[in-house]
């Protein structure tokens, strides 16, 4: 893949976007199982950061073309128009019959093909979709396109075909990296707070035509990854696994008076039931180890 930047033209930045369940909503499990349309969806927060990173690149390098690209059904088009309101030059929706039940590798394959067709010099993705937990689309796209991928990027600048980025690594470490375009960049959520859209841009976004690409028009060959039966399929959904901590609830089998006494006494004893200070410190160190904060 060689984009415009390498030939001296205006660089093309493609931002991959998707929708996610509105974090403010509390849908019932049954609604999630049915993927009910009544559950409000919003632009995935991490993808908002990716779009903002692209817009800042354009601010610093006028002439850059920012294209928002989303593999989304028609019903998801409305929230994604947000990209146009924010200032994206174009918004392309990618959809076809084979896109309905794609897994992350299938999504990455189709987005990669479309990004190539759009002549992308730089592909930006959010770090993860709020609905899922994989965060694999960006790296998988890079592999399909045989491009380098930079994860956890918190700052970005491009000069000609050379990109510099700051990556936030584990345990506070920051790495400055250099890379030749084209490349795939996965943006750290929270590093690029989105700007406020102007009212007139919001109206413009509502009226704008959104061209729909099909995998075939984007150059996706039949039988590509994800075309047949999905590689990964959700068999069942159940309630979340109970987590430790939270609000202390007294023993429900006790009398109301005893429950009140227990409530007034606060949560169970020191150090989660451990009586010695050494035991409590060991427990804290165990948690640090589990979270990989120790060597």
């Amino acid at each position: 893949m060689s984009g415009a930047a390498s030939t001296g033209g205006s660089p093309v930045v493609v931002v991959c976007m998707t929708t996610a369940l509105d974090p403010e909503e509390r849908p019932a499990l049954e609604e999630l199982r049915r993927k009910a349309r009544s559950v409000r969806r919003v632009v995935n927060p991490a993808d908002r950061a990716a779009l903002e990173a692209a817009l800042r690149l354009r601010d610093s390098q006028p002439g850059t073309v920012v294209i928002a690209l989303s593999l989304a059904a028609a019903a998801d088009e409305e929230p994604l128009r947000w990209a146009l309101a924010q200032g994206a030059d174009e918004f392309r929706r990618l959809w076809g019959e084979s896109c309905a039940e794609l897994d992350s590798i299938g999504v990455a394959s189709r987005l990669a093909t479309a990004a190539r067709a759009l002549g992308a010099d730089l592909i930006l993705c959010g770090s993860r979709a709020l609905d899922g937990s994989g965060g694999g689309v960006g790296p998988a796209m890079a592999e399909f396109l045989d491009l380098p991928v930079l994860n956890d990027v918190a700052a970005l600048s491009v000069r000609g075909s050379l990109m510099r980025a700051e990556r936030r690594l584990r345990r506070g470490l920051r790495a400055e990296v250099e890379c030749r375009l084209p490349a795939v960049v996965v943006v750290e959520e929270g590093a690029f707070g989105p700007r406020y859209a102007r009212l007139r841009d919001r109206f413009r976004a509502l009226r704008a035509d959104v061209p729909v690409l099909t995998p075939a028009s984007a150059g996706q060959e039949d039988g590509g990854p994800g075309k047949a039966e999905p590689r990964v399929a959700v068999r069942s959904l159940s309630g979340p696994k109970p987590v430790g901590g939270g609000i202390f609830v007294p023993d429900q089998t006790l009398s109301p008076e005893a429950q009140l006494t227990q409530l007034m006494g606060g949560p169970p004893g020191p150090a989660g039931g451990r009586s010695s200070i050494g035991g409590a410190i060991d427990e804290a160190v165990g948690l640090l180890e589990e979270l990989r904060f120790l060597d």
């Binding site: 369940l21 790296p139 990964v232 589990e290």
Partner: protein
Amino acid sequence: MAAGIPVTAMLLCGRGGLTALDTFVAGRAAALAGRLRGELRFVLVGGREEDAQRLPGTATITLVDGLDEGCDTGAHARLLATFIDRGVALLPATREGNEIAARAAARVGGGLAANARSVEAAAGSPLTIERTVYADRATATVALREGIPAVVTLNSEGLGGRRTAATGSARTRFAALDQTVAGFRVVGRRLPGPWEMDIGEAEVVVAGGKGVATKEAFGLLAELAGLLGGAVGASRPVVDVGLVPPSRQVGLSGRTITPRLYIACGISGSPHHLVGMRGSGSVISINSDPHAPIHALSDVRLVGDAAVLLPRLIEQVRSRTETRRAALRELSEVRV
């Protein structure tokens, strides 16, 4: 899933060798290989011969160069792809593990299931995993299609359960990485100090309240935060007396943060403070009052004087992070 399916575990050894999560993944791989009656293979990234001795099952073990922090994972993904065949690959669900898994799955056209809490298989049925979805609102049981390669990353939710002890024998060999992979170049590394790092972007925030509102105590908090690569935060009373700048205040009149770990020292846990930190992944609370509301939110409660507990915790953390600090000092471009 049919019998005779190979299982490969790629383990990303820390500077101190195999981590607890690596050991857990290795155990699951051995169990899976037993059930699928397939060959068991381990790829130890940055591992040493003595790490290989700690692995379970009868396996083929391949040692490869480690991943320096922040470096490109492309060569490791390609190497893993050569091991997968039509089998199963397991990795720890770390940043690097998830990245390598996605790249390898794309390369071999396999199924990807990231951040799973468990993985199960039985002969004649598809591989199934369990993972949290919809921003922790539900648990999904996910099946991977039969007959294609499967790449699964396991998170630490299953830790503390079954662990397989080292048994059996192993054949160990070394492998070279493909150096032609187009990647990026690290030109510098930097470790911001605990007073420099923003609390909104820190993985760990060590916060102090009225119970530790002295310059000396905050020196200890900064030392702990520095060892963990985190930032110092505070509750409102500490900011009000001018000990900590307002940009580090956590709570309703300060900032709302969601670090992976929040360590609260001398903070009772008023509702105004809890609003700002209740989205934290895990919480350790240190408070002399056993009935302090902060304890109800915490995963580990340390009840006692912070002036006594903190130095002991720092001492333990210091000894367990020395290897990494020494390694970072060796990298000439790191500004620590």
